[in-house]
């Protein structure tokens, strides 16, 4: 790894964009990323479009070709990628691999999502799966891990909820965030129960939005300013052995270890982290998998403020999925957008001081009690 660099990033504010189409949102993010990179469309050698649920909800296919043509990109190879919540970061990994292989000098990855479609309920992992037919819905898998965590480590509902207070507080500082108002611990705990012990404010919202990243080779980066190096970009899948570990995700630990090894750095070298806080319990478990603290210490880490903006290792300064919002196809690239903005020193009111290395961690989908996809992207200037 280490062959690719981020040359530019772009995104549109996340939220409920009922009037906007997938192509409209995706092409705007693509334009912003190209403009940020200062790269002409004709120089892009590979296009990857990532989207998780919208093609099924809208009945559309191969939207990527429509989006790329809106910004003048055609003739080149274009991939349409779906990998649940890691769709965007999976696209990033594919583009890095193509650059590392010397196939292209410049690649554009666009992630967009449209979930705010009338009549859409909770997302699941496919209606032909037995789990889905027996009532499995996305919050439930996380709620059952939360129940195990509380049982095993004696964590409190308030400790879990503190993650939502932190991330919603961070989102106030992020103009791209779905939610811009801070919430209190009482707000979070008294919001309606979704799946015991997770209340509504402990669940990320279903959002619309788009984000895009221009990647280039190291040689191309030498001629440019404001580029950020990709130290590692890895993708892996769950193990699905029975009995599954419900206290943590085995994949999370395996994937983080792979990511750190590929990057040649450890958790102590990081200054800023974006992780997949789809639900409060997830962020706590990811602290532990990422090695930001030991097993069972995640809930305390959150309460002590060490992962807050201004703390020892700020996590989800963008607001995370809980505050910035979660359009699954775009989320992985929005995380990269945040880390790149931080490492460039361009994050304004939410700038983490002297941020030189950061990572974006993402997980997607549920199968047999494990995750379907895991990505970790380590960036450094």
């Amino acid at each position: 790894m280490g062959a690719a660099c981020v040359a530019g990033v772009g995104m549109i504010p996340f939220g409920k964009h009922v009037e906007r189409t997938l192509v409209d949102m995706g092409s705007e993010a693509a334009y912003l990323a190209l403009e940020d990179a200062g790269i002409e469309p004709g120089r892009v050698g590979l296009g990857v479009f990532a989207c998780a649920a919208a093609p099924r909800l809208l009945g559309e296919m191969t939207s990527g070709q429509n989006i790329f043509w809106e910004v003048g990109i055609h003739r080149i190879p274009i991939l349409n990628v779906e990998n649940a919540c890691t769709s965007g970061s999976t696209g990033f990994v594919l583009a890095c691999n193509a650059i590392a292989a010397g196939q292209v000098d410049v690649a554009l990855v666009v992630g967009a999502e449209k979930l705010c479609v009338p009549g859409v309920g909770l997302l699941n992992s496919g209606e032909t799966e037995l789990d889905t037919r027996l009532g499995m819905v996305t919050p439930a898998g996380f709620a059952m891990r939360a129940a195990r965590y509380i049982h095993k480590f004696g964590a409190s509902a308030a400790q879990l909820a503190s993650v939502a207070v932190k991330n919603r507080g961070h989102a106030v500082l992020n103009p791209y965030a779905h939610f811009r108002e801070a919430v209190t611990l009482e707000d979070v705990l008294s919001s309606p129960m979704v799946a015991d012990p997770l209340t509504r404010m402990q669940c990320c919202p279903m959002s619309d939005g788009a984000a895009a990243v221009v990647l280039c080779s190291r040689e191309e980066a030498r001629r440019r300013r404001r580029t950020v190096g990709v130290k590692a970009a890895i993708l892996c899948t769950g193990s699905y052995d029975n009995p599954v570990d419900l206290d943590r995700w085995e994949t999370d630990y395996r994937g983080c270890a792979q990511g750190y090894e590929a990057a040649g750095i450890g958790p102590e070298d990081l200054h800023v982290v974006e992780c997949h806080d789809a639900f409060t319990i997830a962020e706590i478990l990811h602290y532990e998998a990422l090695g930001l603290c030991g097993p069972g210490e995640g809930a305390n880490l959150a309460v002590r403020g060490e992962t807050r903006f201004g703390g020892r290792i700020p996590v989800n300064v963008s607001g995370g999925l809980i505050g910035r919002g979660h359009p699954p196809g775009a989320t992985g690239l929005a995380q990269v957008h945040e880390i790149v903005t931080q490492l460039r020193g361009e994050a304004g009111g939410r700038q983490v001081r002297n941020a030189k290395a950061g990572l974006a961690h993402c997980m997607g989908g549920d199968k047999d009690g494990d995750t379907k996809s895991f990505t970790m992207i380590v960036l450094a200037c």
Binding site: G121, L122, N124, E127, L130, D131, R133, L134, G135, M136, V137, P139, A140, A143, M144, R145, A147, R148, H151, P192, M193, V194, A195, D196, Y240, N242, P243, V244, L246, G369
Partner: protein, 154 residues
């Protein structure tokens, strides 16, 4: 309201379709139903539900019961709009099966949603619960406390 006894009878007569074919062994005499999974004759790996091939050796998998009794490993109660016409609220969980050692995901008794705890002993039941993909009523398996009362303590 359909009583458990009536549910059992209707399950036994097989009037309603099962939510997924091949996952339940329902004795015609109204005896204890069990989950039907598979086991690989060469590797000994057990599965629920039964896959078409063994994931380890890719050989055929024989149908076999994976159990009817176990303990709750974890659970949650879903309190938002229920999918598939399931009751509101409804409970689901992972159950560690005594017979096979498998940890299976399943519905928990909708008439006992507030009583489940980690470690609650449970046994399998089958009843008319929710609707299938075509919107028709169907049978679903669920685990019910082996001993009535909170946490399985009478």
């Amino acid at each position: 309201m359909v009583t458990r006894e009536e549910e059992r009878k209707s399950a036994g007569t097989g009037k309603l379709p099962i939510v997924m074919p091949g996952i339940l062994d329902i004795p015609a005499d109204g005896g204890q139903p069990s989950l039907l999974g598979g086991s690989c004759p060469s590797c000994g790996v057990r599965y629920f539900p039964r896959p078409s091939r063994c994931r380890r050796c890719l050989g055929p998998v024989e149908e076999s019961s994976v159990g009817a009794e176990g303990t709750v490993c974890s659970f949650t109660v879903i309190r938002i709009r229920a999918p598939l016409g399931l009751p509101e609220p409804y409970a689901i969980g992972y159950v560690d099966l005594k017979e096979s050692g498998l940890r299976v995901f399943c519905l928990l008794d909708p008439q006992a949603v507030e009583t489940f705890r980690i470690g609650t002993p449970v046994r399998l039941a089958v009843g008319a619960l929710g609707r299938d993909a075509r919107g028709a009523p169907c049978l679903r398996p669920y685990f019910t406390p082996s001993v009535p009362g909170p946490g399985g303590v009478a």
